[in-house]
Subunit: 148 residues, 4 copies
């Protein structure tokens, strides 16, 4: 499925149905659901082939340090949403990933936010500097908009 | 149940068990779960008798505009957590509620964050100024630390 | 998406992605997830145009009385599943809907089960006899395999 | 917390709050929630000291093969529920665990059901006969009502 124009800047976009069970007692999508969508987009990003291969080879992995979400519009069932993920900042051991949720019914961004991710060395059991190959792979995925 | 010292400043504290099913494939509590805990604490706050009565009388209600969460430590099963909610800012039509999650196992704050809440007039179908009685009720609950 | 042969008998089939977050600490899809999939298929069935129209006109609705699920194989991430729903029994006020979950990765039925649904009259606040038009609509959807 | 009389026969009883977020768009507790409660009670049962010790020593574990739930009454927020678990049948490699959910608000059983559990040998990667020590431990927990 092609991405809506609002997600044109996002190298990774996933598309998910809104489920009836995503609604809460207010009759719209519960606030935890976009957080789950962000998670799915985050995982899709780090599962892109080159990044997945590097994380595996380096025996490091992402740990979620913080999340933020703006609920811009009420989301209702039925609908289909597209969720974009892109990396906008590479720090020493952490990075910022931005998310936008686009609703097919509303033809608009209905939520956005960001994840702060720490790269963790499982052997050493502590955060570790993001390697140069990982920086290069993410910069390539982001089409040069990302400062390595 | 008495609150831990770290939550002494919070007028509303709820205590919940960590469920086995709160864990994800990493074997610790999934990132959506503290967001659900924040929701439960938020609801407990607005269900305190005076605030619940005012919201009902004024035919207004809270809508979640934004959420942020810092995952400070991995949370594991089994555990029992206490979640505090307090209002730290009253704007025109919006307010900020701060949350902290205290783990009984770790004897520490394991997550914190905040909710931005808009007061919504259901009849007019739009945000509305927080009424003076609501401001007074929240200031009273916060023991005078809150600017009305 | 065309249905797999194992779901050929099902008039309603929905297709959903398995999410990373559907996994639990055992590293496979949690047992509550197929129950959520059954719900989504059940809703899709009663939202087929003719049935939705009749339920609305008669001011009646389905209430879930019982559910059963057989977990035939472990379901893992990533995968895409197709869930079928068909009505196999029409009682006085209740009906039985059968579900099967087909995994694209495993090319096999990974779970099946059934829902017992009671038709509820909201005005009278009690179960009500399934109307003849509803029986006819369901029998039509089921291609004559269903005893009216 | 003492168990209600309706759960007197259950050797394991857990007590959980109904969360606001457990509700769905119908304004009552969603059908997946009692399934999660059953899971929590099931885990509590197999975590009783003697059984947990035996499972660990024998390097075997429980796998859920089937679940069934009867939704006897609508469950609403707020409420506190107690969930009982007891083993009623020991087969060769499988056992049946029965669950009842008692509501404090309604002073009644609001849901019941059962889990079919298979004992799995992780080394051999297949179901295995329930050992005599496990049979004895469960029979002891069930106070002799259970055929070893």
């Amino acid at each position: 499925m092609s991405s809506p124009a609002d997600l044109a800047d996002f190298p990774v976009v996933i598309t998910l149905p809104v489920l009836w069970g995503d609604q809460d007692a207010f009759g719209h999508v519960n606030n935890t659901v976009p957080i789950r969508w962000f998670e799915s987009a985050r995982i899709a990003y780090i599962e892109t082939p080159e990044i997945a291969e590097l994380l595996k080879r380096e025996k490091v992995g992402p740990i979620l340090a913080a999340i933020a979400c703006n609920y811009r519009r009420q989301i209702t069932y039925p609908d289909t949403v597209s969720i974009g993920a892109r990396v906008t900042r590479l720090g020493g051991a952490s990075l910022t990933m931005v998310h936008k949720v686009w609703s097919e019914q509303q033809r608009a961004i209905v939520a956005d936010g960001e994840s702060t991710i720490v790269i963790f060395d499982y052997a050493a059991q502590r955060p570790t500097r993001i390697s140069d190959p990982l920086r290069t792979a993410m910069a390539k995925l982001e089409g040069g908009r990302l400062e390595r």
